[in-house]
């Protein structure tokens, strides 16, 4: 059973992320983990005022609010409550951490930046946009995204932006400009998708702005999620960070690659 982890917080953004996590855990038939921060110094300080059982009181307040929200959303989940930082504490690569800031980090689990949306597909889109290039990161992103797409009944939109091959005629279709390595990655993703029974289609463009092209294509094609993975050899300027900066569609970032 897939674990969906989310931080509990008091801000509107934290509330949105909690709603997103409850919805996702419900739709994936997964388990919901709600994380709160621990501050031992603050606990000791407030205990000195004569307020015993602080941890229990805090847990009771948080769990009441989370359970009420689950009830309102009719999600039928039994949440588990944990203390700590899910970015560091979650070691299960099949889990998903919900949080824009977590997606910017490099958790072992996959992370989803919600971009202020209450759910995947809240606006009616039904595809996962999966950009691919020559490297292995797309295969890693596919291995994280395809099981989710299969479970949510979504299909894949494979997007590839390639440099122009000057040796080809000017009116050659963009797909002919793909390199052999990109074609091999494409075949690998298609094999994974077919294995999971996930439908797919492909859009190939001759463009150089990868992040911009990915976000623009996902918006144009009404995708509900963009799935990416960080390349292991990218030092600075990862496309993941660029997409997280400009996307308004939820972004799934695959966990630290084991490839």
């Amino acid at each position: 059973m897939r674990g969906v982890h989310v931080r509990y917080g008091f801000s509107p953004r934290s509330h949105e992320e909690l709603v997103f996590a409850i919805d996702l855990a419900h739709r994936l038939s997964g388990r919901l983990f709600v994380w709160t921060e621990t501050d031992l110094d603050a606990r000791a300080l407030i205990k000195s005022l004569g307020s015993p059982n602080l941890a229990e009181r805090e847990h009771a307040h948080v769990s009441d609010r989370v359970r009420m929200l689950i009830g309102r959303m009719e999600a039928g989940l039994t949440p588990r409550f944990c203390n700590g930082d899910p970015l560091r504490a979650v070691r299960d690569p099949d889990s998903i951490v919900i949080g824009t800031d977590d997606a910017k980090g490099r958790p072992v689990a996959a992370a989803i930046a919600t971009m202020g949306e209450p759910a995947i597909g809240a606006r009616g889109g039904g595809e996962v946009c999966l950009p691919f290039a020559n490297g292995e990161s797309a295969l890693h992103a596919a291995s994280a995204a395809i099981p989710i797409a299969a479970k949510l009944g979504m299909s894949l939109l494979l997007y590839h932006a390639t440099w122009r091959d000057d040796g080809l005629p000017t009116d050659a279709p963009p797909a002919r400009h793909m390199t052999a390595e990109a074609s091999a990655v494409f075949d690998g993703i298609v094999e994974l998708a077919n294995g999971a029974g996930v439908k797919h289609r492909v859009i190939v463009e001759t463009a150089t702005a990868i992040a911009e092209g990915t976000v623009r294509t996902a918006l144009n094609e009404h995708c509900a999620l963009i799935a990416l993975a960080r390349g292991r050899h990218v030092g600075r300027g990862s496309y993941v960070d660029q997409v997280l900066e400009r996307s308004v569609i939820p972004v799934l970032v695959a966990g630290r690659s084991s490839l």
């Binding site: 110094d41 300080l45 307040h61 971009m115 400009r246």
Partner: protein, 418 residues
Amino acid sequence: MMKRPRWMSPYLVMAVVLGMYGIKVGLKLWIGADIHSPTITGDGFHNVADIFEALAVLVVVAISRMPPDDRYPFGRKNVESIVRSAIGGGLFITALHFAATSIMGLAAHAPGLDQAIRGAVPFGLPRPEPLHMGPDVLWWVIAVTFGSALLSFAVSWYEIRAGKVNGHPSMVADGQETRSDGMIEATIFVGVCAEYAFNAAWLEYPLGLGVAFLVARTGRELLSQGLAGLLQRSLGPDVERAIRKVCLSTHGVREVEQVKTFRVGSAAVCILKILTDAPAGAHDDVKKALKKRLAARLAELEVEDAEFHLRFSRLPPSDARVAYAAVTDGQAIAVAPEVEAATHFIICDLKNGEVVRWTLESLPDACQDRLVDWLVGKRITTLYVFGDRQATSLGPIRVSGVPSYVLRTLGLLEPPSI
């Protein structure tokens, strides 16, 4: 880019269309007048209106190439609306004339009825000549009616195809009208055959009434479309509802504040004011996607040629200031369970509910007995303490509970990943 064949040139297409109408008008008015047929003459005048409409299409094709400028921000496409209105009005009058001719032609078979009608109306009614039928004109009549129908179907196919290839919706619309003309002409041909087959000249008049009705209907449509453009009538609630739906289903759009739609010629203009919370860098992406998706949706609703003017504005910031009752030993800070236990107050500036700045302040000595005044002076609206409790009030300030005493959980410290 694929080169378009020369025979698809919009000017050649419209020249062919005009040539066809010229031949049809000449032949129909000649044979119609010769045999005193209101049906064929009426249809001939219908084709005169078609000539003007084809000329309007030609003008629009030429004008649509002129870019909008400071004097004409939406271009000059409304020329088409002016021409359409004029043609529509003219067709209405023509239809009335042929309807009256056909009715009086039928009434002429009952002289008493004819007299009664003429006596009842205060204006003169047409006196239709008896229909001239005979072998001397039979083949001409058949050639004109059958040939016209055939020509209309062939030319409409050519016009629609060329209109689609060249991206001129008004040409496609004109081609569709030519096809419906072909249907009228085919009906007239069948009627003429029936007149000769049963030697029933009176059939001409019900047939003439039918043609007058169809001509009036075309006139009404043209007049309505022309006036819609001139008076900038909206595209209707269904189209505007569809526009709102597409906008709200696009990521990055929070609200659609205003939708204004109208036509300039055959082109639709949509002016939208959209509220967004997308980062400024994403506005261009959202705008392009919206235009693409709206164009596709409007095409489904048969609004083929549309231009969009999108104005993005940010959601108005909802600013507020709240405070947390806090305790601190100089190192750790926690939210106090009671106001009375507080040694300090965390004063938070909120923007759309998120804390954007906070300061830890102790109650000045001079304000020890005047906490409420001090908080009011700080523009505090809500004071939070730790614990689940019913909201109460402290003077004008609302006192409410938060579920945690840990600052990070309350969003007062940045998450560790930043």
